[in-house]
Symmetry: C2
Subunit: 342 residues, 2 copies
Amino acid sequence: MSSPYGLHRVVEPAGVLPQQAWRLSTETRSWPDEVLVDVELLNLDAASYRQLREQHGDPDSVRRAVVEIITERGKMHNPVTGSGGMLLGTVREVGPDSPLGLKPGDRVATLVSLTLTPLRIDDDLADWTGDSEQIPCRGTAVLFGRSIAAVLPDDLPDALALSVLDVCGAPALTDRVVRDAGTEPAVLVLGGGGKSGSLSLAAARRAGAGRLVALVPTQAEADAVQESGLADEVVLADARDPVAVAQAVGAQVDVTIVCVDVPGCEHGAVLATADGGTIVFFSMATSFSAAALGAEGLAADVKMLIGNGYVPGHATFALDLLRATPGVRELFERRERHTSTA
Amino acid sequence: MSSPYGLHRVVEPAGVLPQQAWRLSTETRSWPDEVLVDVELLNLDAASYRQLREQHGDPDSVRRAVVEIITERGKMHNPVTGSGGMLLGTVREVGPDSPLGLKPGDRVATLVSLTLTPLRIDDDLADWTGDSEQIPCRGTAVLFGRSIAAVLPDDLPDALALSVLDVCGAPALTDRVVRDAGTEPAVLVLGGGGKSGSLSLAAARRAGAGRLVALVPTQAEADAVQESGLADEVVLADARDPVAVAQAVGAQVDVTIVCVDVPGCEHGAVLATADGGTIVFFSMATSFSAAALGAEGLAADVKMLIGNGYVPGHATFALDLLRATPGVRELFERRERHTSTA
């Protein structure tokens, strides 16, 4: 029997989850709840691509290293960094029991990591020069019952849609948390000018936030967020400096959303949040122990959530938010122009 | 003006929180919202004591190193491990604006770290032989408006009370989460035989849990938890093996409490929890990114909480739970006899 988590595709070692497995089966005869995808493009995780470049040097050696990993492991799972990436493709075949709601011909992006996605390549990545993390590719990928894939919209450029899908968990969870926080709660977004930050501001507004504050690190970003109209107040501070954050924000807020991808923002978030309030950490740079011990050391009665990247309907929600909120799209496009990261 | 977070006691560098500071003021003339404590005993954090032993070797050198740290920094904050510990003492003086509810003569244990507690020693730790993490000490400590201290109960041995106070955030937060989870929610405690685990089982029962499952790693511990009567079901599995955890637990639960202090328990917790459910991570070995990416990779719509060690009233709540639940006390005392850790 097949497992919605893909346990049936694990070859070695037996009995672990696909992400923990060394090798997955890329058998292209599919199980009833699976979906097969004709792959067009692999997008390697930035950390993985950087490591491969450092280890292998010239682009062709990097290309051969990636081919070797995929062939050996049945997935693009960098054994050094432990990270993967995502892929773009077109649905070829949908099993009769698949719950994903996809149909043949749909253009999709996978929102689960390549580290758990069975992948077979048929072209030795011959069209890739090895000098970018975007890999043109012909091959087959497998989605499980619990995999997540988003149909790419017709009305948005692929690059913009992928940027949004990359962080789509943040606005969906922000929506839930703000709705649960009572009437017109005050909301603070640390890193309000970034991708997840600007979407979270828009989500908080739509969910009924009262006072809405964006904290950003530079005057240029403050100006951009101010122009976007996404926040009521834009304040300038280093999110890693708890006392500066608290002073910049002023009255404590009911909900704080942390979207700043640098370590050390936990204590500022705690100081800025009122007792009984909620903090959602979306940054992967968050330290579990700094958050737990920080709140305890400050005797702060705050609820702290680990930002789960999966909320049902998150992809549609985020794309709709982008379409409906010109300020969000402006910030995304400004970011593309400056080729900075979020 | 004094700050409830103790900013007014920070000497160097200026403008940071006491925990981040290199040096605190131990001036014994107190501010209106402070409490002064006559110190009896310092209890060093285990990691800090181990490091000091490794660096300094013989007990007398360790003693001198601790005296030097406290004298230089104005707090017992190990510069290598970054950790502190807690202290026991008797309240000497209570400022007129202190919100802590203490009175002179109260015997107290501090529940905030020594890394943020101003401390002056008057005896060069002369009564300490340097060969244990418990340090007899004469000196003065300062509590701020937001510090946390618990009055030691008359009816329990100090060692037992301190053991309970050390983990008292877990049962208090478990109580809240289980009450918020609807009618008779199914609850799983990973590490149900440990200190925080057994208190969390008792708290979950009192808060109205339905099916209550304890997961433990050994048969001996399973027998002990079974005898204690704290759980409806006791199951045996390695909490680091997600598939084994899911199989042992069977039907998914509504609330999972993670009290196992080893890395790698995030995915098992996710697999064992039903969509819409809640996971509370109390273990300091929790990896933020493993939890966030694990839930996303498994398309699990679960709420994940960072176990905040502070909940108002947590000390009284935990001590009452111990008094009212013979099974909890048995497990604590068994643990003392086996001198194992939780």
